[in-house]
């Protein structure tokens, strides 16, 4: 599959009061065209930092990109002119669905004002040139075409009575409806890639099921790729074609969804899957704590908590090992047998 997005060896440091935290340590990640890729990991593993690095919205003061590349359709976004990335990529070719839709709308403007403001700059019909803010004009003809597209997309995300809904304020929508609006706004610029940052964590399980189904149907119909970060393995199982698991700033394993859940090869992946409460009430935690990123353990960062660790694991970080097509693991001692065997 031709890769739409390809991250290679990305290193990002954060300057904190406690020292320099190595938040991303040589991350590799691929997203193919039309593919839904899950980025799974526990809090603090760096999945949100990776999503922000791809979008180019890392906090300017604290974050330092130390190396690596983020190739999108062949161009390295880290080395491109920021103005070009801003005009053509961010918010247009790559859009974003936030975790908490309630803080992503301004509470004082009707939804229409906010969506049309987005369309003024990021609509697929907008040209890249022209004067910048605040002199940008919004020609009436394009406005009407964009508004038509907005209404159609709101119908696609199943907002009842879209024309009336547009006149309402964000607080008049329920949490599930607001997340539907966010999905509509992410689809409207007709992007090639949507980065969804834990979009269903704040929703109830029945609403989550509705939203996941809707999102998957819409992106599959339009051929849009999705990078879906989540800490919930069940959600990843529901929506992803492929899953990448991260631990403490390193990617551990990448596999097609079916193989990821049936034949995980990395000890961390296996421990993570085993810690989901089972139907019989069995509980298996992972002993130990997530390491500090200021002074991370050398080599594979999971080795202090790993049952299979050997001196080798404390030296160099293991290289990528392909177990099957599309199934890569970074471990010296990958587990061969399927789960339950």
């Amino acid at each position: 599959m031709p890769e739409l997005l390809s991250v290679r060896g990305l290193r990002v440091d954060f300057v904190t009061d406690g020292g320099v935290a190595q938040v991303l340590d040589g991350i590799n990640l691929d997203v193919g065209a039309g593919e839904v890729v899950g980025l799974v990991g526990e809090s603090g593993c760096g999945k949100t930092t990776l999503a922000r690095a791809i979008l180019g919205i890392l906090p300017a003061g604290a974050a330092r990109i130390r190396g690596g590349e983020v190739r999108f359709k062949g161009d390295d976004l880290l080395r491109q002119d920021p103005a070009v990335v801003n005009a053509r990529v961010r918010g247009r070719a790559i859009t974003f669905i936030p975790q908490d839709p309630s803080t992503s709308f301004s509470p004082v403007f009707p939804v229409q004002t906010q969506i049309m403001d987005l369309m003024k700059w990021k609509s697929p019909r907008a040209d890249d040139g022209g004067p910048r803010w605040p002199l940008r004009r919004y020609p009436g003809e394009r406005y009407r075409a964009d508004r038509e597209a907005v209404l159609e997309t709101l119908r696609a995300v199943q907002i009842p009575e879209p024309a009336r809904a547009l006149r309402r304020l964000p607080h008049e929508f329920s949490g599930g409806q607001r997340q539907r609006l966010m999905i509509a706004m992410a689809l409207l610029p007709q992007p090639a890639l949507i980065i969804a940052d834990e979009p269903t964590t704040s929703l109830d399980v029945t609403i989550q099921a509705q939203i996941l189904r809707l999102l998957r149907e819409l992106v599959k119909a339009r051929g849009v790729s999705v990078l879906f970060t989540t800490h919930d393995l069940g959600t990843a199982h529901e929506i992803c074609d492929r899953v990448v698991v991260m631990y403490a700033g390193q990617e551990m394993e990448a596999a097609p969804a079916e193989a990821f859940f049936a034949r995980p090869a990395h000890p961390y992946t296996r421990r993570l899957l085993a810690s989901v409460p089972g139907p019989g009430g069995e509980l298996r935690d992972i002993p130990g704590d997530v390491p500090s990123l200021v002074a991370p353990p050398p080599g594979c960062r999971f080795h202090p908590r790993c049952d299979d660790a050997t001196p080798e694991c404390r030296g160099e970080r293991p290289a990528l090992r392909a177990l099957a097509p599309g199934h890569d693991v970074r471990c010296y001692h990958p587990v061969e047998k399927p789960i339950g065997a």
Partner: protein, 322 residues
């Protein structure tokens, strides 16, 4: 029912309504957060209370705790009505009945050392001497798996998980009989969640605790609770043994709720999920059965007659067609 007969906690038609007021302070309606709930909890058991946000499960827990006064109905704890006690007498009950918020660690005072936080409940509620208190505190700290050296640390010197353990220790110093856990694992990673749940189980055994486990996470409730009560818009719709309810849910709402839980390794549940819409506003509860606006089995009778909780197959279900 346990051997001695009476349940430890018994709710009888418990109601808690909140008034809705307009800008001039005039009452324009009621939010019927808890609307006639009857439930018995035996000593030593763990009862799960599940439902979606806004169904009233937290209001129920807080009304039992005395944070909200009940609008009507009885709360009987250890055989005594506690919902309408005068504040002084009600405070004495707090020793036996404790409440754990989402993150018990967050309720520690950042300017107090751990030892100070753990002594405080004993100072307020008991007449133990300093030496006796100290012995008690050390025993509890060991029970939650922390070394004595942590007594002289401030909360910010502990990790989040350790803070959580100290918060739990603080609740346990009074040796309560019942603990209401309100969403104790929401927002936790699965591996941390597993160790927190293990801790709850161990403490229940050590201190002979009775838990009311409020959660929206059905996998967690299934792992922790022998009995489960499903709540929808202020009412219980199904109460029964957890295994039986998961095996064969009888209320259409329970069925939809269980159908929405992802099953890792199985078929994607979202492919078959059919429940439409969202729960109605608790200000404006539908007539008859509250679930009828979303129910796949809805008939004319559902709009007219509210189905009572009746016993079906050894469990209680509120549906005309269960």
């Amino acid at each position: 029912m346990n051997a001695s007969g009476a349940p430890l906690l018994e709710l009888v038609d418990l109601v808690r309504h909140f008034p809705v007021r307009d800008a001039f302070g005039r009452r324009t309606g009621w939010i019927r957060a808890v609307d006639g709930v009857s439930l018995a909890v035996d000593a030593g058991e763990t009862v799960g209370l599940v439902g979606e946000s806004g169904c009233g499960k937290s209001t129920l827990g807080k009304t039992v705790m005395g944070i909200h006064a009940p609008t009507a109905g009885d709360i009987r704890f250890a055989g005594r009505e506690i919902g309408r006690l005068p504040p002084r007498e009600r405070r004495a009950i707090a020793r036996d009945l404790q409440y754990v918020y989402q993150d018990p660690g967050a309720s520690l005072d950042p300017r107090w050392k751990v030892v100070h936080s753990l002594h405080e409940p004993l100072k307020i509620h008991t007449r133990l001497s300093r030496v006796e208190r100290d012995r008690e505190v050390r025993a509890i700290l060991a029970a939650v798996g922390l070394p004595n050296a942590h007594l002289d640390l401030y909360p910010h010197e502990l990790s989040g998980g350790q803070q959580r353990r100290v918060g739990l220790a603080r609740i346990l110093t009074l040796r309560p009989r019942m603990v209401i856990l309100d969403e104790p694992t929401s927002g936790l990673d699965v591996s941390v969640q597993a160790s927190v749940l293990k801790l709850f189980r161990g403490l229940q055994e050590t201190f002979a605790l009775t838990y009311v486990f409020i959660s929206h996470d059905l996998a967690v409730v299934r792992a922790m609770c022998a009995r489960i009560a499903v709540m929808y818009l202020g009412k219980l719709v199904e109460v029964g043994e957890t295994a039986a309810v998961f095996e064969e849910p009888r209320h259409p709402y329970t069925r939809s709720l269980l159908a929405a839980v992802p099953r890792i390794g199985g078929r994607r549940v979202t492919l078959d999920f059919t429940l439409e819409g969202e729960p109605p506003n608790p200000r404006d509860v539908p007539s008859g059965c509250r679930f009828r606006t979303r129910c796949p089995l809805v008939q004319d009778v559902c709009a007219v007659e509210e189905p009572p909780l009746r016993v079906v197959d050894g469990r209680r279900v509120a549906c005309h067609f269960a």
